[in-house]
Amino acid sequence: MKNRALLGAALGASAALAATSALADLNLYCSAQEEWCQIMEKSFEEATGIDVAMTRKSSGETFAQVQAEAANPKGDVWWGGTGDPHLQAAEEDLTEPYVSPMRDQLHPWAIRQAESAGDKTIGIYSGALGFGYNSDMLAKAGLPAPACWEDLTKPEYKGMVQMANPNSSGTAYTTLATMVQLFGEDGGFDYMKRLHSNINQYTKSGSAPIKAAGQGETLIGIVFMHDAVAQTVAGFPIVTVAPCEGTGYEIGSMSIIKGARNMEEAKKFYDWALSVEAQDLALQVNAFQVMSNVGAAKSDKAPDLASIKLIDYDFKTYGSSDERKRLLAKWDNDVSTLPQ
C-alpha cells in the first residue's frame, strides 16, 4: 500500500509538470546569446506589458524545432541568430510575411535581406567575418601578425589556423561563400584548398575556433569579428583582424512563425525590436554587432564597419538551399579530402 501512495504522489507531482507555457502572451524563440535574449524579453515586457515566454536555442536548433513543430506551431516570433536558417525557413514556408512600419528606419542591407525572402524575415544586426589571433602565442612563437586572408595560407602558420566545418556551421559556410564571391568560384576554392593545408581542425560549432584561440589551443581562428571582440572583452588575449582584401558578413535576422497563435503580439514585438530603443540594448550586453536601425548607437569596442571593406554579399543566391548544397558538396569533394 505504501507503494500505491508513493506512486500516487509521483503521479500528482508529474501532473503539476504538465502545465504548458502556453499561458504567456508571446512565445519568443531567441537565438542570440543568453543575456541579450533576457534583456530583450524583460524590456519588451516593461515597454508593453505583454507577458513573454522566452526560449533560447542556437539558430540551427531553433530552425530544427520550428520545422518539427510546423504542424502545430508553439512559437510566435523568432528573434536573432544568423540569417541563413531564417532564409531557409522562409524558403520552406515556415515563416509569415510581414512589412513593418519601422522598415524605413533601417539600413539598406536589412531591407534587401527582407526583400530577398519575400518579407518573411528581416535583418536586425550584421556582423562582418574576419579572424582573431592569440597575441601571447604569437609573441612567444615570434611570428608576424596576419592582416589579410592571403596571410593565413602562409607556411609559417601551418597547423595554427582553425575554422568551423561549413557542413555544420553557418559561420564557416559564410566564409566559403565569401571566398567564392571575393575571388570568384575557382579562385575561392583554390584559396580554400591552400588554407586547408594550414588548418589544424575544422570545428563543429561556428564560434569554437576563437574560443580555442582564447584558451591557447590554436593561434588563429576564423570567425565573425564580434565573436572575437567578445573574447577580448571577456579577458582573453585576442586581437581581432578585419582582412585587408575585404570580407563578407552575416545578417542576424528575425521572423514571425507561420501560424503563430499570438500574431498581434508577435507583430508588436517585431516592430519594437526594430526600434532604436530596443536595438540600443545590445550595448548593455556586450553584443558588438552593427544594429539594423540607422539611429542605433554603436559601441566603441565594436569593429568599425567604416574601416572594413565589405563585399556586396548576395544573400539571395548564396542563401538558397540549392546553391548551398552545391558549394558544400564541392567543398566536401575537392577540399576536405586533400591531405594536410
Binding site: A10, S14, N167, K211
Partner: protein, 736 residues
C-alpha cells in the same frame, strides 16, 4: 485463501478497471485542459462545455461522434462480472472489449487531428471532416489505460503467461509505454530517411546517401581520414572494453581486497557521472591541450614542441572512459558481490589456486555483468555527443554528424536519419554479440540455500596491476576534479587566476526582500526545475527498468527478444535525434505535451530506463528461480513475489538504477536542448548557454554546485535503499 477466491467470482481488479474506464469516459474532460493540475474547468461549463466535456457528454450532444463506438466496449465487461475466471466467455468478452476499445482509441487519435483527418486516404474514404480534436486529456488517458488492462485480464484468463494477471498486465503496460514513447517517435523520425526532396517517400534517394564516403570511407588506413561510422565503431569498442576493465578493477578492490577507504573510493568512482557535460572536456583541454599544463611541462622537459595530440581519438577516449567507467562499475559491483563465495571456496578446496579460482570460477560467473557493462559502455560511447564536440578535432563520429545534419548548415534531416540507422545497426550488432557470448549458460549464484562463504581475496598476480590501475585512475580523477573546483573560484579559468566567489554569487544569490527570502541568483529557476524533474524521473525510471528486467529474466513470452531490444532502443539513439523525434511525435494530437515539464520527465524515463534494465538483468540472473517459485506456491502472487523476494535481493541494482537516472536527468543535455521551454529550463541548457557566452567561470561554478547536490543525493539514496543482509560472513579484511 486462494481457493476461496477462485470459487466465488469476485474480481476486484476487474471492477477497478471497469470503474476507471467509466470515470474516464463519462466524468473527466476527454481532451487536454490547458493546465493539467488546474481544476478551474470544474466550475467553467463542465460537463457540457465542449472544451471540458467528458466523452459521454460530447456524444450525447451529438459532437465527436467517432467516440461513440467506445461505449459498447465499456458496456461489455459489465456482462461478465458474474462469471468465473475459468469461463471461456469471461476471457473472450474481456479480450475483445479491451482490444477493440484500445485499438479504436488509438486509431481515432491518430486519424483525426487538429485539421480534421490526418491522412488523404481517410478524406478520400469518408469525405472531408468538418471537425477537429485536440490532444488527449485525463479522460482519454484513463479510458485507454482501462481498455489495456481489461484486455490483459482477458488474455490472462485465457491462460497467457500461466494465467498471471500481474505479469500479463506488466508486459502489456511496458509494451504500450515503450511503443508510445520510444517506437512511435523514432519511427516518425526514421521515416525521414526515406523522405524524398520536396515531400513523398522514396527508396532511391536512400542509397546514395547511405553509401556516402563520409560515413564509410577508409582513408585513415592510407593516411587520410576515415568515415564517421568506422570512427564511432572503433571508439565505442575501445570505450566498452576499457570502461568494463576499469569498472571491474574498482569493483574487485571494493569486494575482494583489504583496502581501507572503500567509501571514499566508491564516491570517487561515481564522481564522473555526476558531472555536467563539457566540464570534463574543458578540464582535459586545460591539462592536455596545446597550452595545457601537462603538455607544456612535458614538452619543456623533453625539448619537443607541444602538439595538439589530445584532439581526436585520444581526447575523446580519455573523456569517455572517465565519464562512463562509473556506469560499468555500478553494473559490475552488484554482480561481483553476487558471485557465490561458496563456489569460489569450493574451487579452492578442489586444489585450484587463487588465480585459477578467479579465472575459472569467479570471472566466468561475472559474465552477465561484464557483458552488460560492455554493452552500456559501447552504446553510451556511440550516443555521446558532448565529448566528441569538444575534443574530437577532425575525428568525426556518428553522433556529432547526426546533430549537425539536423542543426547545421545542411538542414538535412534525411541524412541524420540515415546516420541514425547506421548507429542503430551497430547497437543491434553489439546487442546480439553479447547475447551470443553469454550463451545459454546459467549464472545463478544465489540459490535458495543459505550461503555463508567469504569472497577470497584477489590473487597476488591480479591484485598488483588492479591496485596500480585503480590508484592511477583515481589520481587522475582527483586531479581533473581538483581543476574543476579550482576553475569555479578563479576570475577566468586559464587566464586570470585571481580567487573569487563572484561566479557562485551570480548564480546562487539569495536576498532578503520584503516578502522574505528571494532567490535572485540567475541559476535558481533552472536549478529548481532540474531538481524537480530529476526527482520525479528517477523512481519512475528505476521502477519501469526493474519491472522490465523482471519480465525479461523471469517470464517467458513470445517476442521476448524483440521486446528486449525495443527497451534498449531509446538509449542507443543519440539524444538529439530523440529530442527532434519527440517534437515530431508529441507536438500534435493525440498526445500533445511539448512545452511541458512532463515531456522532459518522459524523455528521461525512456532514455535512462535501459540502465535499470541492464543492471536488473545482471543481478536477477544470479537469483535462483526456485525462490520465486516457492513464493508462488506459498500463496503470494507475482506482484507480492516481486515486491517481497526479488526487490529486496536487488538492492544494488535498484541503487544503480536510481542513482543513474537521477544523475542523468540532471546532467543530460542532448535531448534536452529541444525539449526545454521558457517555463521548464534545465541546468544543463543554462550551462551550455554560459559556455557559448564565454562565461566559463559561471558554467563551472554551477556545475560544481550540481556535483555537490548530486553527491548528497547519491548519499541519501544509498541510505534510503539500504543494504540487504543475507548473512554472508564478513570478508577477511573485516569490511563490509
Amino acid at each position: 485463501m486462494t481457493a476461496q477466491a477462485s470459487a466465488r467470482p469476485a474480481h476486484p481488479v476487474l471492477i477497478f478497471w471497469i470503474i476507471a474506464g467509466w470515470v474516464g469516459y463519462a466524468l473527466l474532460p476527454w481532451y487536454g485542459v490547458e493546465d493539467f493540475y488546474d481544476f478551474r474547468w470544474l466550475a467553467d461549463g463542465w460537463p457540457l462545455d465542449p472544451d471540458y466535456a467528458p466523452a459521454a457528454f460530447l456524444v450525447g450532444q451529438g459532437q465527436k461522434l467517432w467516440l461513440a463506438p467506445l461505449l459498447p466496449a465499456l458496456l461489455a465487461p459489465l456482462l461478465v462480472l458474474g462469471r468465473r475466471k475459468s469461463d471461456p466467455v469471461f476471457a473472450r468478452v474481456l479480450t475483445a472489449a479491451g482490444a477493440f476499445g484500445f485499438a479504436w482509441l488509438v486509431a481515432q487519435g491518430l486519424g483525426i487531428g487538429l485539421r480534421g483527418f490526418t491522412a488523404d486516404w481517410l478524406t478520400g474514404l469518408f469525405g472531408p471532416l468538418d471537425d477537429r480534436q485536440f490532444g488527449m486529456g485525463y479522460g482519454a488517458m484513463i479510458t485507454a489505460t482501462a481498455f489495456l488492462f481489461l484486455f490483459t485480464q482477458g488474455i490472462a484468463a485465457r491462460g497467457a503467461v500461466n494465467g498471471d494477471v500481474f505479469v500479463t498486465s506488466a508486459i502489456a503496460g511496458v509494451i504500450a509505454v515503450v511503443g508510445i514513447f520510444v517506437f512511435f517517435p523514432i519511427a516518425k523520425m526514421l521515416l525521414a530517411a526515406f523522405a524524398a526532396e520536396g515531400g513523398g517517400y522514396s527508396v532511391t534517394g536512400f542509397f546514395p546517401k547511405f553509401i556516402d564516403g563520409r560515413i564509410w570511407g577508409l582513408g585513415c588506413l592510407s593516411g587520410g581520414r576515415c568515415g564517421a561510422a568506422w570512427n564511432s565503431l572503433v571508439l565505442a569498442i575501445l570505450v566498452g572494453v576499457l570502461t568494463t576493465a576499469l569498472g571491474l578493477a574498482f569493483a574487485l578492490v571494493l569486494t575482494r581486497s583489504g583496502f581501507r577507504y572503500k567509501r571514499l573510493l566508491r564516491a570517487l568512482t561515481v564522481l564522473p557521472i555526476i558531472t555536467p557535460p563539457f566540464v570534463i572536456g574543458l578540464a582535459i583541454i586545460l591539462l592536455f591541450g596545446l597550452s595545457g599544463t601537462v603538455t607544456t611541462t612535458l614538452a619543456d622537459l623533453l625539448g619537443v614542441p607541444a602538439t595538439r595530440w589530445i584532439y581526436g581519438l585520444p581526447g575523446v577516449l580519455i573523456a569517455q572512459v572517465l565519464a562512463f567507467t562509473p556506469i560499468a562499475f555500478l553494473v559490475l559491483i552488484g554482480v561481483v558481490e553476487g558471485v557465490s563465495p561458496s563456489m569460489e571456496e569450493a574451487a579452492q578446496t578442489l586444489r585450484a589456486s587463487r588465480w585459477q579460482t578467479f579465472r575459472t570460477v569467479s570471472l566466468p560467473l561475472m559474465r552477465p555483468g561484464l557483458a552488460n557493462a560492455f554493452l552500456l559502455g559501447f552504446i553510451e560511447s556511440m550516443a555521446d555527443f558532448g565529448n566528441p564536440l569538444v575534443l574530437g578535432g577532425n575525428f568525426d563520429v556518428l553522433s556529432t554528424e547526426i546533430f549537425f545534419a539536423i542543426v547545421g548548415a545542411q538542414y538535412d534531416q534525411s541524412r541524420a536519419s540515415i546516420l541514425a540507422l547506421v548507429l542503430l545497426g551497430f547497437t543491434l550488432g553489439a546487442f546480439y554479440l553479447q547475447r551470443f557470448w553469454l550463451g545459454r549458460k546459467s549464472y545463478t549464484t544465489v540459490t535458495g540455500k543459505g550461503d555463508a562463504g567469504v569472497h577470497p581475496a584477489m590473487p597476488a598476480g591480479l591484485a598488483v596491476p588492479v591496485y596500480a590501475v585503480v590508484a592511477l585512475w583515481s589520481a587522475f580523477t582527483l586531479v581533473v576534479y581538483g581543476m574543476i573546483l579550482y576553475g569555479s573560484v578563479v576570475q577566468l579559468w586559464g587566464v586570470d587566476n585571481t580567487l573569487t566567489f563572484k561566479h557562485y554569487l551570480t548564480a546562487f544569490r539569495i536576498d532578503w526582500a520584503d516578502s522574505g527570502l528571494r532567490f535572485s541568483g540567475s541559476a535558481w529557476d533552472s536549478f529548481w526545475t532540474t531538481i524537480l524533474i530529476a526527482t520525479l524521473a528517477a523512481p519512475l525510471t528505476a521502477a519501469i527498468g526493474l519491472i522490465t528486467a523482471y519480465l525479461l529474466t523471469r517470464q517467458d513470452f513470445s517476442g521476448k527478444r524483440a521486446f528486449e531490444f525495443g527497451t534498449m532502443l531509446s538509449f542507443a539513439i543519440p539524444g538529439t535525434v530523440i529530442g527532434v523525434a519527440y517534437i515530431l511525435a508529441f507536438n500534435v494530437p493525440p498526445i500533445e505535451i511539448t512545452g511541458t515539464g512532463l515531456i522532459l520527465v518522459i524523455s528521461f524515463i525512456f532514455r535512462n530506463m535501459p540502465v535499470g534494465v541492464r543492471a536488473g538483468i545482471a543481478s536477477m540472473s544470479q537469483l535462483d528461480k526456485s525462490l520465486d517459485e516457492s513464493s508462488l506456491t506459498l500463496g503470494a502472487n507475482s506482484w507480492q513475489t516481486f515486491r517481497r523476494v526479488i526487490l529486496p535481493l536487488l538492492r544494488p541494482a535498484i541503487l544503480a538504477a536510481l542513482v543513474y537516472s537521477f544523475v542523468r536527468a540532471m546532467t543530460a543535455i542532448s535531448a534536452v536542448i529541444f525539449l526545454v521551454s521558457a517555463r521548464y529550463d534545465m541546468a544543463t541548457s543554462y550551462i551550455i548557454g554560459r559556455v557559448e557566452n564565454n562565461d566559463y567561470g559561471l558554467a563551472i561554478a554551477y556545475s560544481t554546485a550540481l556535483i555537490f547536490v548530486m553527491l548528497a543525493a547519491v548519499g541519501a539514496l544509498q541510505l534510503i535503499v539500504g543494504r540487504t543482509e543475507i548473512g554472508r560472513r564478513m570478508t577477511q579484511s573485516g569490511s563490509h
